[in-house]
């Protein structure tokens, strides 16, 4: 059985409120909050990037297991805000973590599902016997154009997972992936900010792919929404995950703990995984968790995860840690995002 | 016995019309005229400069000086950050200790205002270790760390530091070669903007251009012919770690202490006999540390003693410090400072200091420091 051995997350200290951004652009903050269901989002400091955040979350993931780092022969770095267009952040990360050189590393990109796609590849590498462990990171300092809806949602964060075959806290029971060519959200080479197709990002994109991926996995496994203790979906805003969960047959109770987007925003490749972090704080042995990511362009990876007894010894505080925050104003936000 | 027989300094300040070597040339011409010497009577030249390579892409300055002087003699350049001038002087004296009947020219020069403040700050931080630079520490940052430590350890505040600048600006108003001629108050200093907490603009020496030159000789006939001469009793160069973090103590510059002890021993005089001092006040805290490290004040007393302003001209004290205006008010063209300090002592001992002349100045001391204390030069002259 392949699964997750340990996990780590990192959310930067700074937050900017939806109120603060809306006021600058002369919008009614209450209207914006009602439409996006985002109160505030996490913002990385001026000297942080996807790599520094990945180092934080990976260090955390490796801190509560005693393993020989030489057994981590797969290091995959998923992001849509890679530090370089050409140069692997995965090797920079591995080097700083002290993972020595006989390993396979590469950086992955598929908008917000870059990391979950990597989970699927990595578990195969473990299953085939190539490696005992794999380190997967999803890390983003999400960018959005000013005076655009992404400005309220695009956030910073990182989640790292150490995959393995022994001493698991979460078993990966099964998974599915659904892909198509759907240009709902993209960024061209050399262009700073992503663009998106407005309402096209909804029904034909987010909803279609998540629904198809999920239904595929339900069919394959014979499981139904009511079999799960928790459902975790990618969170581009506070409304979409609630709507797609409902359309698939999940109750609001099953997904409410996962909705980190309400107070952290959408950290892109770390978005769905951050929801998983929140859920793991509460999950109990035997719980089934349904995890479904979405990456624009487009595709969706869905997973059936089962919590083992080992979670209790490696469970991490989430809500309390997230509460250690400092609010910044709009000019500081622009400075941190290097937009001015 | 080596004697200093002549001194000339350009004005220090923002000298837009003059390049580095225009300034050096002015200083050379000035000092040769003051000593009635011709180029061909110079047997060797020692040149102190820190930044010409980094900022102006000018190295091999020794050859450039040969071109200016039109002579073929040994010329050496020394670099020890802000102690470049002092070390040039020291090497000149050492040269004369081993070569008899020679006349030597010592020039210190620096051109800083051709560049943006950030470029200059970055270039000056080359005096710090690689790790200090990588941490974003500037030269002022290092002295600020020392200041925070000193103020906390001995229970002083920023206000104590302000008296240094007040005194030195008053002296600058008496020196027509100084960059800043206006007097300032303690309130002025406290209101100025922070450079590196707790040091403010008015705690910090400026970015300046300038060149200073002296002529040294061990030729007795030459000394007798000269109108002015002072004996060089001692000149010591001592080094310490480049990194502030590796020093034994943070609230002192050990290199100064050792160089001073050595200089007084060789000069065979005591500290009580010194009447005038030019010391390295790159920042106000540096003057306080120097007074303690040179042995004039007890360690930790400086913050209190400076408030008495006993070392200020006209207050009746028997030890007057930085009559040139120090680095703060006279200006700090890095490579020139070490030579200017010695030149100022020369003026005092030969009664040429005009409005700032200290009566009966018989013995004087100059202290020049490189970086955050990695090099110290202490020189003692006698009238």
């Amino acid at each position: 059985m392949i699964g997750i051995v340990s996990y780590g997350f990192y959310v930067p200290k700074y937050r900017i409120k939806t109120d603060e951004i809306a006021t600058v652009w002369g919008k009614n903050p209450e209207d914006v909050k009602k439409s996006l269901l985002i109160e505030e989002k996490a913002v990385a400091g001026i000297d942080e990037d996807s790599l520094t955040m990945a180092f934080e979350s990976s260090s955390s993931a490796l801190s509560d297991v005693q393993i020989d780092k030489n057994k981590i022969k797969v290091v995959l770095f998923g992001s849509e805000t890679h530090p370089y267009a050409v140069n692997p952040a995965s090797t920079i990360l591995a080097e700083f973590l002290g993972i020595e050189k006989n390993y396979l590393a590469y950086d992955t990109e598929f908008a917000c599902k870059a990391a979950t796609g990597a989970i699927i590849s990595a578990q195969a590498l473990i299953k085939s016997g190539y490696s005992d462990y794999a380190l997967i990171t999803g890390s983003d300092k999400g960018m959005g154009k000013t005076h655009d809806v992404l400005e309220y949602t695009a956030a910073s964060g990182s989640v790292s997972l150490l995959l393995g075959k022994d001493d698991l806290i979460l078993e990966i029971l099964d998974f599915e992936s659904f892909s198509s060519d759907t240009p709902d959200f993209w960024r061209r080479e050399g262009i700073r900010y992503p663009s998106h197709g407005g309402r096209f990002t909804g029904k034909p994109s987010y909803f279609y792919h998540i629904e198809e991926s999920s239904k595929s996995l339900f069919k394959k496994t014979g499981l139904k929404p009511e079999d799960f203790a928790y459902g975790v979906f990618h969170m581009p805003n506070g409304k979409f995950p609630v709507q797609v969960a409902k359309s698939l047959g999940f109750s609001f109770l099953q997904i409410k703990d996962s909705l980190t987007v309400n107070y952290l925003g959408n950290s892109y490749t770390a978005s769905a995984l951050m929801g998983l972090m929140a859920v793991l704080e509460k999950a109990k042995a035997g719980d089934l968790i349904f995890l479904c990511s979405y990456g624009s362009g487009a595709g969706s990876d869905s997973f059936v995860l089962r919590v083992t007894k080992n979670l209790t010894k490696r469970k991490k505080e989430f809500i309390k840690v997230i509460k250690n925050k400092k609010y910044i104003d709009y000019p500081t936000y622009l400075k941190f995002m290097e937009m001015i | 016995m080596t004697s200093l027989i002549g001194y000339y300094t350009t004005k220090f300040g923002e000298l837009w019309d003059k390049s580095l070597f225009d300034l050096a040339e002015e200083a050379i011409d000035g000092v040769l005229k003051a000593t009635n010497l011709e180029n061909k009577q110079i047997d060797a030249v020692f040149f102190g400069n820190m930044l010409a390579g980094v900022l102006g892409n000018n190295l091999h300055s020794t050859s450039k000086l040969a071109e200016i002087l039109k002579i073929n003699v040994p010329i050496f350049r020394t670099e020890a950050a802000c102690a470049s001038g002092g070390t040039a002087f020291n090497l000149a004296k050492t040269y004369l200790d081993s070569n008899s009947n020679k006349n030597v020219l010592v020039i210190g020069a620096e051109k800083m205002t051709d560049y943006s403040p950030e470029e200059v700050i970055t270039a000056l931080s080359a005096a710090a270790s690689g790790e200090e630079q990588e941490a974003g520490l500037t030269f002022s940052g290092l002295y600020a760390m020392m200041a925070n430590f000193y103020l906390e350890k001995y229970h002083y505040t920023e206000k104590n530091l302000a008296y240094v600048s007040v005194k030195n600006h008053y002296h600058g108003s008496l020196n027509d070669k100084a960059q800043f001629r206006r007097k300032i108050t303690v309130e002025d200093v406290l209101k100025s903007a922070y450079v590196s907490y707790p040091l403010k603009v008015l705690d910090s020496s400026p970015i300046s251009d300038g060149a200073s030159a002296v002529v040294l000789t061990n030729n007795h006939d030459m000394i007798k012919k000269q109108k002015y001469s002072t004996a060089v009793l001692a000149s010591e160069v001592i080094t310490d770690t480049i990194s502030l973090k590796s020093r034994k103590q943070i609230d002192e510059i050990l290199a100064t202490k050792i160089a001073a002890d050595s200089a007084f021993k060789n000069a065979k005089i005591s500290r009580k006999q010194i009447n005038v001092v030019e010391l390295h006040d790159c920042f106000s805290i540096a003057e306080i540390l120097a007074m303690e490290d040179l042995g004039f004040w007890k360690k930790g007393q400086g913050g209190a003693k400076i408030k008495e302003l006993s070392t200020m001209y006209g207050n009746g004290g028997n030890l007057i410090v930085n009559t040139s205006g120090g680095l703060k008010a006279a200006g700090h063209p890095v490579g020139a400072t070490g030579v200017k300090q010695i030149g100022e002592i020369f003026l005092q001992l030969t009664k040429q200091a005009e409005k700032r002349q200290v009566k009966n100045a018989k013995y004087g001391l100059a202290q020049n420091v490189g970086g955050s204390g990695g090099t110290a030069v202490v020189t003692i002259l006698a009238a």
């Binding site: 520094t52 080097e95 700083f96 | 430590f149 973090k245």
Partner: protein, 99 residues
């Protein structure tokens, strides 16, 4: 552009001092930085003594003003340390965060 070789050599040393606890020996706050640090200004710099007595310099980040004092307990983290040119190698290094 900072030499990529220098960054590469330096990063081997940085790895050894990440994730370590220490206390502040010296500090200041820089308001007038050099070229590569302009965008971070003003920023505090601390000299920290780690538990193994090694002394390390670094900027202090994610701090409150009360943390700026001799004796503060801090922790070494990975951050970008200087602004490379747009086309240069990124310089990652050690900074400190209050514990």
């Amino acid at each position: 552009m900072i030499s990529p070789v220098k960054i590469w050599r330096r990063q081997k040393e940085i790895r050894k001092i990440l994730g370590k606890k220490g206390k502040v020996l010296l500090w200041t706050k820089i308001f007038t930085p050099g070229i590569d640090f302009k965008k971070y200004a003003p920023y505090p710099v601390v000299l920290v003594e780690l538990e193994n007595k090694e002394r390390v310099y670094g900027q202090l980040v994610d701090y409150d003003n009360e943390d700026l004092k001799i004796g503060s307990k801090v922790f070494s983290i990975l951050r970008k340390v200087r602004a490379s040119s747009e086309d240069g190698v990124i310089a990652y290094g050690v900074k400190f965060k209050p514990l």
